[in-house]
Structure formats: C-alpha cells, structure tokens
Subunit: 456 residues, 2 copies
Amino acid sequence: MLNVANIVDRLREIMDDESVNQLRDEMNSYHVADLADIFQELKPEERLQCFKVLNVDKAADLVEYLPPQMQVELLGDIDEEVASRIINKLPHDAAADVLGDMEEDESETYLDKLPQKFSEEVRELLAYNEDTAGGLMNPAVITVNVGMSVQDVLNGIRQRAQEDNMELYYIYVTDKQSHLLGVLSLRKLLTSPVSAKVEDIMTTDIVKLHVDDYNDFIVDEFMKYQYNALPVVDLYNRLKGMVTWDDVHDLFEEETTEEIYQSSGISTEAIDEDEILTGNLINAVRARTPWLFITLIGEFLAVQVSNHFNHTVAALPLVAVFMPLLAGLGGNIGTQSITLMVRGLSTGELTLNSAFHHILRECAVGLLIGTIFGLIVAGVTFGWQHNIELGVVVGVAMTINMTMATVIGTLTPFGLKAINVDPAIASGPLIATTIDVIGLTIYFTLVSTFLVKTFV
Amino acid sequence: MLNVANIVDRLREIMDDESVNQLRDEMNSYHVADLADIFQELKPEERLQCFKVLNVDKAADLVEYLPPQMQVELLGDIDEEVASRIINKLPHDAAADVLGDMEEDESETYLDKLPQKFSEEVRELLAYNEDTAGGLMNPAVITVNVGMSVQDVLNGIRQRAQEDNMELYYIYVTDKQSHLLGVLSLRKLLTSPVSAKVEDIMTTDIVKLHVDDYNDFIVDEFMKYQYNALPVVDLYNRLKGMVTWDDVHDLFEEETTEEIYQSSGISTEAIDEDEILTGNLINAVRARTPWLFITLIGEFLAVQVSNHFNHTVAALPLVAVFMPLLAGLGGNIGTQSITLMVRGLSTGELTLNSAFHHILRECAVGLLIGTIFGLIVAGVTFGWQHNIELGVVVGVAMTINMTMATVIGTLTPFGLKAINVDPAIASGPLIATTIDVIGLTIYFTLVSTFLVKTFV
C-alpha cells in the first residue's frame, strides 16, 4: 500500500528546498493513478508546482485520472502551449471531456490550436449529449474490411503504432460506408492462422451501443455482457466509435452514488451529485429539501393522528413516552426491507415474477422479528412500570408495527416496479413517515381501546 | 432491448409442443448473457430442459454467467459425463468456483474425471481462501521470457490456440523460476517491430496482487489503476495467475451491496449477502436483528428522556404530539449527512484532510435548512393552535434539532475514519437513535423552561 500522507510530506520538503530537479525525478517516478491520489491531498498551488514538472506524456496520462474540476484548474493555470500539447496527447473522449468542462472561449482557444483532424473529431464529440454513448465514446477505433487476412490486419495495426490516442481492444470490421459488419477480438486475431480471412473469423452477433443510448443503459449492458469495450453506431449502423470499460467505470460509480443518495432522500435529478458534496450551498440545500418537505407533510399527518388521541394522552401521559420507541424500530426494520428489495431489483437478483414469494418471505421475517421484539418490549415495560396491561399493549403494538413496516417496505418497491417507476425513489424518508402515521394510529387505537378504559 | 418475458412465453410454447429441435435452435441462438436473464425467469424443471439442449461450448459459457446456486443445481441434474465435459471447458477459476460450491463427494467425483493437469490446477485453486486473489485468479496465463522476440511471442500464442480456458489480456514475462519480471500489453506486442526483444518493450513498473490479498483491496486496486487484468504473485514474487476485470465485476457489485446494506443496519459480517435475500429465514433474522437491538436500547433511552419530562406532558399533553415530527425530520436530515460523508469517504472524494471544511459546510447546510423548516413549523403550529409561544418553541426546537442532526451525521463518519474504523458502520439506525435522544432532550427542556411555566 502506498502511504500518501508520507509522500505528500516528502514532496512538501522538496518544494520548500526549491530543488526542481529532485521534484521532477520524484514526480515522474509514480504511477499516474498514485499521482491522482497524491494530488487530491495537495493544496492548489502545490498541485500546480508538481504538475509543471511532469513530462507531457505523463501529464496527459494523469489528466485522465483527475476529477473534472482539477483538470480544468491545472490546464488553465499552466502555459497555454504546454496545455495544448497535453490535450493533444489525450484520447479524443478525454479531450472532449476536458474541453467540455471549460468556459467556451477557453475551449475554443485550444480547439483552434489543435491539429485540424483531431480538433474536428473532438468538436463532433462535443455535439453529443454528454450523458449518452456519443458523449462517452472514443472515435479513434481500428477498422478493417472483410476481405483482409490476419497478416494484413497485423501489419495495419503495426503501421498505426505512432498514434498515441488509439486504444486497442477489439478490431471492428466495416464496409466502405463504415457500416459495422463484425467484431474481431485480439485473442481471435492472435490465435488464428495468419492467412485466415477476416470474414471467416469475425463474430457477427454484435452487442453494440447506439450514439443516443443513455449512461444507465450503457452501464447495464457492460455489467450484463462483461465485454471490455462495445462499439457505438448511429441510426444507420455506421460505426462512430467505441466505449471502453474504463469509461464505464466512473459511470458505474456515479450510478451507485445516485442510488445510495436516493435511498436517503437526496434528490439527484436537478443537481449533479458532485455539486451536492462540494458545490455551492444553495445547490446542496436544493438537493436535500424536496424529500424533507415530503417528510414534513407526512409528519404533520402523524401529529394530527397523535392529536386525535389527545384525550388518551391526557388521561394517561405515560403512553406518550413510547412513541419514539415504536416509530424508531418500525422505521428501522421498514428501511431494511426497502433497502433489500430496491437493491435486489437493481442488481436483477429479484424480479417481478418472484415478488409474491419475497413478499411472503419478508412478512414471515417481520412477524418473527416483531414477535421477538414485542416480547422484549412487553417484558421490559412490565418490569419497569409493573403494569401488565401496559406491557401487553406496548408489546402487541410493537409486533404489529414491525410486521406492518416490513410489509410496506416490501410492497412499495415491487408496486412501483410494476407500474414502471424506478423503485429507488421509494426512498427511506417517505416510507418511514408512512410507517410513523400508520404505526401511531395502531398504537393509540390499542391504547384507547384496551388501556385507558381500564384506567379511567 | 431484449423482451425477456416474451421469449420465456415462446420457449414455454415450444416446450409444450415437445419439439426438441426447435428448442435447440432457439436456445443456441441467444447470447449467453441473455440466456442467463432468461434462465432467471424459468422454473427449475424448465431450466433443466432448456439447459440440456445447449451444445457443450455454449453451456460452459452460460455457466459462468449463472448465480452459484443455479450452476450447482443444473450440473447436478444433468448426465454426469456431460457435466464433466462442461466443467472441463470452463476457465480454471470458474471451474474452481463451481466445484467449490458443490458437496465435497460430488466435486471429488468430477475432479477424478477431469484431465489430470486441469484437475491438479483446480485443486490448487480450491486450497486458497475464496475471498482472496488466490481464490479468484485464473492460473492459465501466457508467460514468455525476456530473451524472446515479438515474433517468438506471436508464434507461441498461436500455438496455444487450442487451449480454450486461456484468457488473453497481458503477456507476463518471467524467468525460469517463474519470478515475475515484466508485463507486455497486447497493444505493445502488436505495435512493436516483430524483431524487437521482449526485455526492451516490457513494462517493469508492475502493479500486482498477492495471492493473500482480500477482495475489497482487489476491487480498490482495479478501480484505481483501471487495468483489465492484474497478475497475482506469491510471497517470493512467483507468478501464480491473473485476476481479470470480469472477476472483479461481480465483487464490485457485492461490495456495493454490502455498503448499501450496512447503511440501513443490515449486518453482512456473519451472513453472506445472498443468504439474507434468499437463504433461510433464520439467517435473514440474524443479519437484521443486531442493529435493531441497538436501536431498541437507544430508543429505551429516548423513552426515559420523555418519561423524565412526564410532568410536562401531563401539564400540557399537546406537546407530546410534536415528538414524531421532530424525530422524523431530525432522523431524515441526519441520515442524508451520514450518507453523503460515508459515500464520499468510500469513493475517495472526501479525505480526512478536508474533514474540517466539510464539517463546517454541513453545519451551514443544516442551519440553513433547519431555519427554513423551523419557520414553516412555527408558522403552521401557530396557525393551527393560535398559540405563539408554542409555535416559537416547536420552531426553535426544529431548527436546533435539524442542525444538531447534520453535525452528528457529519462528525461521526469522520471520527470513525480518524480512529481507523470503517465509517460505513456508522449506520443510519445508530445515528437516528442518537438524534432521537438528544432531540427529545432539547425539545422537552425548551418546553418545560419556556412553555409549561407560562401555562401552569
């Protein structure tokens, strides 16, 4: 394991000594993925100093590993000529990402400086929606035609060796109009006789993406088919580029973050999830308030329920103290059920076909746990207040409450899925509030029916 | 998009017609990743019928995409000879996974039937802990030595074309004692002159795994360095195998599931997360009760707090009805903060260095949202009860409660991280309970200080 803190300390010492050569040797000796971790820990001005001593190839490699904000910050602060040489070394998709995050006049300056072909291809990428395969793909792919032999293909690849921005995963077979006809894996290429014809060894059952496919679909396709790269075609099946696994990597992490955020009622629709954590305060507030408002409305309902039984509380104030206990455990076990169902539906481990089985199963789990906790609560309450009726009522309320919470937590995600709504929006807050309202109604009904009458 | 439900209906019709040839054609025409989705929807006996018509190569491909339970079920139900031919077609790591999930006498039967070399290598894999690189790796890698030329390597690969179980990502360079000396990417191999020597074009800065490295470390390394495969070495740097991205795929999904489960207080330490969703009921109960018990203890504390202010409630029963409102919103906003911090620390977007900044930021967010909600609650309460003191007390309690909840939700994950405890265990339930206890104390103190005195 790399000790980032130690390295940062050493780098700071070298910077204090102003020994540029030592800093250059040190910086160029790390893997760019490690450098990205190190940069995360440096102050902006230290980052700039360290970035300047990197050679152009290493700097370009590193840029791909940095978060967007840092990319723009560093490239904006160094000499424009150097920045443009670094951008020129990036794969097209990475270059488009970097330029897309800059102010328009800044990115135009760089686009004008770049070689014409590269600049045109990057402009084409910038025209696609950045949340689609078009915005994600690298247009620089190796294409061959059906008539070529394995030896021709190998020679062709060797000739293109100089092009730094070329990624090599699969060889795509196209006709003269760029229509995608087949895919050739490097494995197949390397294990077939050199005289074999491309058309005889290519795969024609092609899993492909369309330029307009959205990120979440792309992630699903990669997770399902487990390829390292997928070709991207337009409406007419013309090959436009390739999306590679490392692009999907980051998307996958983003999708997961969105799923986790949604589960605790942080809305990611209007606000980018980077913004919520580190952007301006107003965006953070905007992302967090919608579900809080829904909770507020729901809890006012809970207030009305409690208020409806105000005479019960007045007659026996002690019953009020059990409210947080019931709400807390109901909310907790209900959230567990939603989490299990939402995640199961998201990974595909659960499907609507098995809904009935899982609803029954969760009911059983809820009833089992509810009974255990009901007994404990009844026992503790009796031991504390020496009132058997109170113990029984609180215990029974606990059992019903927890069972009901698991049922709601299980039914809601399946219900949403059945009407084609993303179950992830069945977020914890909404369900917790529903459980509060129903749970309190049950509790106070029990109390006023069985308890207050015996007392008053 | 594939319409799985339609395909399943068609397959059922074909099976009803008992036209085996049509079923064979239909089944063998799908991509194995699609077949895996289809199998998920079929009943066990239908699954078996469909599996039997697949040719051996396709069946072996499919097995890799199926969940462990289904692998064992299908291979156990078909003819033993066929099953053993399918297993023989699997990559070593997949074969070890399948055999590892079987009963020992069953797996021994297959191991005896397999070719000796394959069987020995699989036995070696079975000896590693399945949660480590040793248990995950494929030992069949292509190795070359430093003195070879590119042409030699290409010829070598072509000669090994017949070995189905060989995966091709990187070429590893070793000495005669199998010590790992360098790595050669296929890209480098294909773009270098055929006469170039391996030692001149190989990379010697090698990112590698150790046989004893655990799954979570492996996932982190893959996410960080973004390679498609990493070599695995033993204590003496001898090459033992290779872990590929598609192995890590599933691990990554598992790790994410664990993170999500933990956040809602489902414990994944003793029970495998597959078991929680679909295994026996007792395991589901065992995974879910530990944090519920902690909630129970915490909420009994909340009960004590409320009970301590019993005279206040007796004097003014109305104040009790606001308890769920305060607890609900405090819990909700607090959970948002924990979720943001735990996820940020997990993806590396947040570090301890930036803790102070984020704690301040979250305090500001909490105070801002708390003030908005405090004002609303004060207004609504006043409008409802026409009691200005009550409105002010409930509103102020709401503001303090929500601010306090964000602070606790932010401090706890950073605090745990600082003492080297996984912040993911700062799970929602624990914090929600803490917030309940502190929030009720603040509320009842405000009520008894400012409100009940004016009334009584």
